[in-house]
Structures are given as C-alpha cells and as structure tokens.
C-alpha cells in the first residue's frame, strides 16, 4: 500500500526502497517458522523521517585486537580450515561505509555452535567461540581470520541441512540501513535444498550472499582467502520518487 499523506521530508536524505525480488520473501512457506512470525496484514508504507535516516554509531569503544581473529581467542588453535574473510562495505551509491561495526558469528568446523540450544551431536571445540567483531576502515574495508564453518542439520523438514555460512551484522549510517545477513561459500551443493538461501527470489540477488575465492588475499602456507563485499542501503545522490 502506498500512502503519500506524509510527504518526504525535504531536509532528510532520500533512501531508495528495495528493488522487487532482491530481498527475501517474508513469508516463505518452505521455511516453516516464517508463517508464525510475520504479519498476515500488509506492511504500512511509511515515508522516511528523521527517525529512520538516523541511526546509532555503536560499538566503537569495545573492539580488541583478537576480536577480528577468531583463531586467537583461546590458548590453543581451533581445528579446521583456517580462512581469511575480507571485503568492503559500500552503500548503494558505491560509496565506502567507513568506521561501522561488523559483527559475525558462526558454527565451528564440525558444524556446531557454542550455544546451549544447539543439539547437533557434533563436537564443540574448546579453542573456538565463533564470534567476532571489527570496524570498517576509512575505505570501507574489513578483514576477519576464522575457521571455515561446517554444514549442519536443522529441523525444518526431513533431512534438512544448512549450507556452511557465517552470520554478518552491519550497522551502516541509518536505522534503515541496518543489515543482518549470512555469507555463504562458493559452489555449495546444499544451496538448492536450503529454503533460507532460496527465500530470495532473484537469482542475481542470491549470488550476492556468496563469497568468492580470492587468491590476492590468500596467504601462502597459511590460509585461503574469501572475499565478501556488502552493500547497504544508502542515500540517493538525486531525488527519487517511489
């Protein structure tokens, strides 16, 4: 529903709405819990006000060096394939998003989360917590060192397995640019069977969740590099009519 009773505030930057098909379908029947946890009534279209285009500058004082290296958070090294995940955070205009908080969390190499509710009978790794955080640099770049997570089963349907993924949480400039997503690895055979991955209708949009192997960030005799660029909602350079 488009209701234009509330006009766009000329004093606030204009943020574009999502293009059709580029974000997940909120109620996607193959992913069962979506139908219990999303409204039956349509969302009400709200023009952006100062409340939506502002957002927190959060988390800056709490970052330590080992926060972005998940292989160095314990006395020993975690088991599994050491990897480097790096990339840039940009907005829709292609501008870097500097100095913004990125948080990640993930399963260990056996596909097990260090979380009391994870019932998967795979081993925990005493040397791996699976959580990290960092700030983007002035040019929007970031870098994590971690362990490649394993695939793991869930209860959505018979023989359901999640493709290996790392959860990414990014703040960006505004409350409406906030993004929480999952990063996948190239060529995973589980993509076709995963309703969470498939909930994004547009094929090209789905590809944007898949990292790519990156020889330039791969370190000899040390770790394979994967590149994952993230695009956040950002202000338009020119006015836009929805």
């Amino acid at each position: 529903m488009v209701d234009r009773n509330l006009k766009q505030d000329p004093q606030v930057p204009i943020y574009r709405r999502y293009l059709p098909g580029t974000q997940p379908t909120r109620i996607y029947d193959p992913y069962k819990s979506t139908s219990l946890r999303n409204p039956a009534q349509p969302l009400i279209y709200m023009p952006h006000t100062r409340s939506e285009i502002t957002g927190p500058v959060y988390g800056h004082s709490e970052i330590t060096e080992t926060d972005s290296d998940l292989t160095r958070q314990h006395s020993g090294e975690p088991l599994g394939e050491r990897i480097i995940v790096s990339g840039r955070v940009l907005d829709e205009g292609g501008r870097p998003v500097p100095n913004t908080l990125i948080e990640i969390w993930q399963a260990n190499s056996a596909g097990r989360y260090r979380h009391g509710c994870d019932q998967h009978p795979a081993p925990l790794d005493p040397n791996f917590s699976g959580a990290g955080r960092t700030l983007t640099a002035h040019d929007g770049t970031y870098r994590f060192v971690t362990i490649k997570p394993g695939a793991y089963p869930w209860f959505n349907h018979h023989n359901a397995w999640r493709p290996a993924h790392i959860h990414f949480s990014v703040f960006g400039r505004a409350f409406l640019s906030r993004l929480i997503t999952q990063m996948y690895f190239p060529g995973d055979p589980l993509f076709d069977y995963d309703p969470i991955f498939q909930s994004v209708p547009d094929e090209r949009a789905r590809q944007r969740m898949i990292s790519s192997f990156d020889l330039t960030t791969t370190e000899p005799q040390w770790a394979v590099g994967y590149r994952f660029d993230i695009v956040l909602r950002g202000p338009e350079a020119t006015p836009f009519e929805p």
Partner: protein
C-alpha cells in the same frame, strides 16, 4: 556500476552468540542524562500467542528534546554524549526484554509539523528473514492525534503501537508485539 543492497537473512536461533551474549545494551540512558527516566518493557508473542523467547529487539530514539545523536540531525552538537539513543536485547523465556531509557521528545517533521514522542523498533529472530520495523508511541499523549505516521495507520489498529503505563510499577511502560493474528501489531514498510 550498479550497487544493489545485499539480501538480508535470518539471525537464526543462535544470534546471542554474536550479538547479545556480550554486547547487549539495555541502559539506553544512564541516570545522569536529562529527561523523564522510564523503563520500557517489550514482549513478543507469535501467531499462537506463545512468547517468542529467541528474538532480539533493537530500539532507536531521540533524546528528551527530540534530537538524534547522528550527523544528519541538525541539532546533533547539542546532544549529551552520554546518551546514544540505541538499545538492544534478547527476549527471555517470557518473550520479554527491558530497557532503561528516557521519554523521547517531539521530533521535527516537514513544514513546521512534528512527530509525537516515539521509539523506532526492529525485531530479528529465526523465522524473520528481513527485520520487522514498528514504532512505539505512548498511550495518552495528546501529540499522538497529530502524528504524521500514526495518521497513515487505520484508526482501529493504532492501539497496537501504544505502550501503556504499567499501573503496578510507576515509570514503567509496557509494549506488547503480536507478530500475527488477533490484534496483530502494525509493521511498517520502511
């Protein structure tokens, strides 16, 4: 080159590991911050009326003078540096979380109009692939009648956006979120 926003995805059931175990933020306004200090208790219920005990709520609000701590707010330099305006917390077994904050002020809107005191809220959980946005207003505030966002909401549904004063705890406000079904909360396309 075209830059299209990366698709969102669900936080899943283990969000606490990365987001709230060590980095929840329930004190939105420390005691020294100017304003009317309140406790905001939010509760989430699913389509069956069951508490949602594995969600995360994030809130974002203006200070007592209606200023946001953000460079795009023209009055940002007047803000108290102790007040960030942001909070986040996981819901507990009852589907609840609490924030200690202040009553937000009136926020300027176009053409000399204003928005009633409100708090922006986003919900993340398994089963939610793209965060759900809503707003908390405060029941009984006369400014609600003129609020430019509330007027977009059918009258009979506006009560779903109202926090109500807790008659058993002075200074505490209760906000129930019903994700689906009877008295379903209004969510916004932002």
């Amino acid at each position: 080159m075209e830059h299209v926003p990366t698709p969102s995805s669900t936080v899943g059931p283990f969000l606490h590991l990365g987001l709230t175990e060590k980095h929840s933020l329930t004190e939105v306004a420390p005691p020294a911050v100017e304003g009317r200090h309140i406790v905001l208790r939010c509760r989430i219920l699913d389509a069956d009326g069951a508490p949602v005990n594995d969600a995360m709520i994030e809130i974002w609000q203006a200070d007592a003078q209606g200023r946001y701590r953000h460079p795009d707010d023209p009055r940002v330099n007047e803000c108290d540096p102790r007040f960030l305006g942001f909070g986040r917390a996981a819901t507990d077994e009852e589907g609840c979380c609490e924030f200690r904050t202040i009553m937000p002020g009136v926020v300027p809107a176009p053409n000399g109009t204003s928005q009633a005191p409100h708090i922006s809220l986003a919900i993340y959980s398994r089963g939610i692939l793209l965060q759900l946005y809503t707003r908390i207003y405060f029941a009984g505030d006369p400014a609600n009648e003129q609020d430019p966002v509330l007027v977009l909401v059918p009258k009979e549904r506006r009560s779903t956006l109202m926090a109500v004063a807790d008659s058993s705890h002075a200074g505490r406000w209760l906000f129930d979120i019903r994700m689906r079904g009877e008295n379903e909360t209004v969510f916004f396309d932002v």
